[in-house]
Symmetry: C2
Subunit: 429 residues, 2 copies
């Protein structure tokens, strides 16, 4: 009977989840992947800390050297997170011929190329299902089941914190601060929620998904990012009135070998499959030229969902290892497509602005739009305030981002304009 020795780096929430799964199904591993799994070492910062799981004496260690120099350890599960020392450890392990399973989106989005190239040279496995959308299988389907497609679009709710906040605002009429507070109480948002609400977490994930989908290395700095902090209940209610829901989406699209990657709030039609994905759930919508529309839904974070993805990868790596077949599914970025700047993208826009409530104002604004090639699909003039200010809500037809920004720069300076309240992109129809 085969036995595979592994090491786990990090015994936080996810690491403990992985240990629970491995220990809880010990009798079945041989049937499932052809070997028993032995957690030989777990690297932690403090051995003494109280944890949810128990491990035999001597398994916990603070010394990387005990792991890297152990030739029996063939696979490293990295669930410590962060850039360093994870990057150094992973690169060293790869060079020693050890296979890697990682949940580290930050590392892959920033240093993916270096790590993939190292794994290719060393001929080891590098699996990272848990790095995007937690427990939802999306990396493997893009690499395998959907491999016959030319993927045209990947669009996803890939941050549970912001989806929870937006769901509460939309469904219960909470304002942003109240919904954020609730998210913090439930442990969905961290004390400093910037990475989530600023869109940076989602940006890392869409960089990884775009790289896979378009076979081109898309780096974090290639992704345009806007968070949800400027969204108001007015926008959410206007959207509802117009038949849309507002979601924070990661969007990656290819057209004519040009790629766009962006994270920002989006109005999507209430009939779109992503529109009904609420609370902290994640979902990734993929459009392929053969398969058409497909969507993957589930828990994008949390101990056990993330551990499910990590351990699923681990079983693959173990199966590959005992069959002498590691290193096959390495980097799939064999192309080098052009990456567009945000100004070059084309989409529809929702615009909410305050203008003087007097005759001719709409005509003036529509005129500026017309001069910049921006054509309007719908205009909603909301009740004027007693102060003689009207709210104008406009949805455009397809237009280039640069063109609408140029038009807005002109409109902003007009005396009839009081304020541009919000500009939100419209997708999905």
């Amino acid at each position: 009977m085969n036995r595979i020795d592994i090491a786990i780096l990090g015994l936080g929430t996810v690491g403990q989840g992985v240990v629970k799964i491995i220990q809880g199904n010990q009798k079945q591993w041989n049937s499932r992947c052809g070997a028993t799994i032995n957690i030989k070492k777990v690297m932690v910062r403090s051995i003494e800390r109280t944890r949810e799981v128990e491990l035999p004496d001597g398994v916990l260690t603070c010394k990387w050297d005990e792991i890297i120099s152990d030739p029996d350890i063939s696979t490293i599960v990295e669930v410590m997170g962060g850039i360093e020392p994870a990057r150094t450890f992973i690169l060293e392990a790869i060079r020693k011929g050890k296979n890697i399973v990682t949940a580290n989106k930050d590392l892959l989005a920033l240093h993916g190329q270096e790590i993939f190239e190292a794994s290719k040279v060393a001929g080891v496995d590098l699996y990272f299902e848990a790095s995007v959308a937690g427990g939802i299988p999306i990396i493997a389907p893009l690499k395998q089941s959907l491999a016959a497609n030319n993927i045209k679009q990947v669009m996803g709710i890939i941050n549970g914190t912001t989806n929870y906040i937006l769901s509460k605002m939309s469904q219960e009429g909470m304002d942003y601060d109240e919904a954020l507070q609730r998210a913090k109480e439930l442990g969905y948002a961290e004390a400093d929620p910037t990475a989530d609400v600023g869109g940076f977490d989602a940006a890392r994930k869409i960089a990884i998904l775009a790289s896979l989908a378009f076979h081109t290395r898309v780096r974090l700095q290639d992704i345009y990012v806007e968070g949800i902090t400027n969204l108001t209940l007015e926008d959410i209610n206007n959207a509802k009135e117009l038949g849309y829901v507002i979601k924070l989406l990661g969007i990656a699209r290819e057209e004519d070998r040009q790629i766009e990657g962006r994270v920002h709030p989006v109005l999507i039609p209430i009939t779109h499959p992503l529109a009904n994905v609420n609370d902290s759930f994640n979902a990734v919508f993929v459009y392929g030229d053969a398969v058409g529309e497909t969507m993957f839904f589930g828990h994008g974070a949390g101990q056990m969902p993330t551990a499910s993805a990590v351990t699923g990868d681990l079983l693959e790596v173990i199966s590959n290892t005992i069959n002498g077949y590691t290193g096959r599914l390495s980097c799939t970025c064999y192309e080098d497509k052009v990456i567009k700047s945000i100004g070059e993208i084309t989409t529809k826009y929702y615009l909410r602005m305050h203008v003087l409530d007097r005759p001719g104002v709409l005509a003036s604004i529509a005129g500026v739009f017309g001069n910049h090639g921006v054509s309007l699909a719908s205009v909603l003039q909301k009740n004027g305030s007693p102060l003689g200010i009207a709210e104008l809500v406009v949805i455009t037809h397809m237009v280039k981002e640069n063109d609408i920004q140029d038009a807005l720069a002109v409109i902003k300076e007009m005396s009839i304009t009081k304020s541009i309240e919000n500009l939100i992109r419209v997708e999905g129809n």
Copy 2:
């Protein structure tokens, strides 16, 4: 540069889709799977027929012998469908060491064990993603990404024809006959729609999914089947009033190492992810002990979605072949759990019946239910007709199927009972 010779059995809708994908992406196969793909032979019934795709002279053949005896052909793509001669061809090819990609749910649901065992003995690949839910990746995720889970439930809309019919009835108030007629006009339903509307197509697919999910061979005859032909607009509207949608679901569930497999109409809450899957779309909802709820959505049929799944499998097999690594992912039915009969299942029930509209009737009926351990969650008494007949709509709490059937046998014979109109199971909350 590697070249892999393949043969395709059948050049109908799906076969032509596979040829389109292979021909349309010829330059990319080497990057995607490590080899170019050469369609050496395609087996057809008539060489002369006009088709959407063009193949070089000599590729089309009516002779199986030209394929089976060609040692260069390492992989067979079976998209002819039906039991024979597909079964014989596949078994012969496996014994000759050829890998198989098949979309044939009928064959796998009926003869899966024989075919899996043969492929294991021969050490060849047997891939079948397209056999369930068309283009949606579900077989591979169950085998790989979700492999760390003990799957507790698989529940899916896995027949597009019936989902289209039920969507039209529910959303547009069409009656069953009208919706079926529309489905026929659109090519969603066949002239003889029995396999779809009778639930038999879905039964094949849930047998395959259950086998994978529970690591136990579940055969077609193990699945309880009811179709949608008895559903009326009354039931659909009652369901809506109570906060439910009616869908035809394939359900596979495990509890305490006992499996149930069934296909029948189901009331699911409108908030359930499956409730918003409309028209001819399919979706498979999976509950695993680690990942929790997850769902896979997309086109469950059609030329290109099905060809996407077939060709995705083919790329895997080719990659395995050039790496000398076929035969790893064979049968995963290493357990032999008990399969329950329908009488043993426990769920909730929606019951619609006609009774005499007079005092004490409800008490009598509730009394019979009570005697059989059936407890009621809600009772809706609809307006009595001028003829002194009332409609009673009841939803039960969890109850064993045998118990409610026993109660209904008694109620049916009571003089106050005019008719049992429908009994529909309630799931998903």
